[in-house]
Symmetry: C2
Subunit: 315 residues, 2 copies
Amino acid sequence: MANKITELFGIRYPIIQAGMVWCSGWRLASAVANAGGLGIIGAGSMYPEVLRTHIKKCKDATHNAFAVNVPLLYPNIQEIMQIIVEEGVQIVFTSAGNPAIWTSTLKSQGITVVHVVANTKFALKAEAAGADAVVAEGFEAGGHNGREETTTMCLVPMVRNAVNIPVIAAGGIGSGGAILAAMALGADGVQVGSAFAVSEESSAHPRFKNKVLQAAEGDTKLSLKKLVPVRLLKNEFADAIAEAEAEGADAQTLEKILGRARAKMGMFEGDIEQGELEIGQISAMLKEIKPAGEILKNLWQEFLTEKERIAGMKF
Amino acid sequence: MANKITELFGIRYPIIQAGMVWCSGWRLASAVANAGGLGIIGAGSMYPEVLRTHIKKCKDATHNAFAVNVPLLYPNIQEIMQIIVEEGVQIVFTSAGNPAIWTSTLKSQGITVVHVVANTKFALKAEAAGADAVVAEGFEAGGHNGREETTTMCLVPMVRNAVNIPVIAAGGIGSGGAILAAMALGADGVQVGSAFAVSEESSAHPRFKNKVLQAAEGDTKLSLKKLVPVRLLKNEFADAIAEAEAEGADAQTLEKILGRARAKMGMFEGDIEQGELEIGQISAMLKEIKPAGEILKNLWQEFLTEKERIAGMKF
């Protein structure tokens, strides 16, 4: 094994399952870990003690490495980080915030730290803060996203040129060919969100998963750019936001339409019209609910097949 | 040579120079053709007799294959197609319109026809109309763009799965690694715009080229979505559009700000603040003005190097 990402995390395949609100609890993270990828518990939708329970259950369910993703704008951040250290979590992915604040604290506890970025500026900041790797997440990714709207195709080579630490590509990775493409762009590994959001072990509501499977090309849209940009699946709620945005609604008006707990309502409780449904553009290629381990193995098999095909091309 | 695109066009490298308004006249198209790629004359910014002159000069400047790109919404479309047939142009790329209207007419004249699409729906239409190949152009591409905002990373595999004719990837192709990535996603060739827009032989104004070279990440934006979406480089004009859009300006108001001949003003006449500057996201990676032939050779050399690197990866 000569890959920087498999070595960094001590995993078999350089495939990371994204930490996703309302989708990635201990069931999904441990399923991916047991299959040889890096599973991530998404702390963004968990109260601190709920996170502790998920970490404990994940440790019981797998002997392999797993990580916790922490959005740095989380209100209980101090408590969350305390729990992560107490529970002996070995790998932390931070996102949505300044990597300078927590990286050195976590590193001093022997924790491997990866920061999620949407531009080279923050990739450089993460490297300077001592991060072990960065996730370069493109415009096509689901959920919260960068203001520059730089796509995976453009972002990955730019981040690759900017930093010396390993780069993980995210956004639009839904096939083995896309994993190979990410590596051709300079990534050492990939982070896969949407495909695992609709896996059997995802804790998302079945109605959300089925809505995603029905999504066609163009059915997601980067929304709420005047607040924090987020890629949403079109539904009544997203249409209301789009209409307000087209009419020039300000941040306050958008916040009022958004209200509270929309993501939980949509993704966890299954209100697929009034809830906030976060998913990537690649959802248009997802056709069935499968076990996470099978998704991982299929991706890897496809990757190897594509690698052979490309290697065999004659010019 | 076992590549569908090199065989289709009778060229050496599966690299196509995009037909770009105000950039790609006979000088650029013939330079690319002479270097072994497919050069394209962009008819979108030419009066019919100007196009005829460019075709004639291109024929004098190269014995290799070249093409003409025709936006199907062009007002003088009948006259343009007449000139293309009269001048014996062998390859036509059509864009911005319904492929069903002109494909069979051109094909009956023995012309190879390629249609540019931003979604699978139009890729299927193009194939049904008899097109020989499609260009799948992602959200990150410069100039006019699709409403679905699907990125190259997501669009290419979807189009690849949908059609049987060869697929050319466009949007974000600025390095040999990106060419390899496009092929990993299922493309048979690539179309490169931005890199050739700032080549020595591009007919764009030097001030436009230099402005592009200074562009940083996030300096382009998909604008005018209420008219026809177009990716623009930020300047005073683009900022005025962005401000109006944020305030909810309707199509009529935007048309008034746009006025007439903005692209010519910016890209050809060099008014880099009040003109419309069309360029892709990958412009942030462009650092110098080089001859088109050198750009092409460098891309291909990088592609071969990356191909070797990927083939040598051990898992």
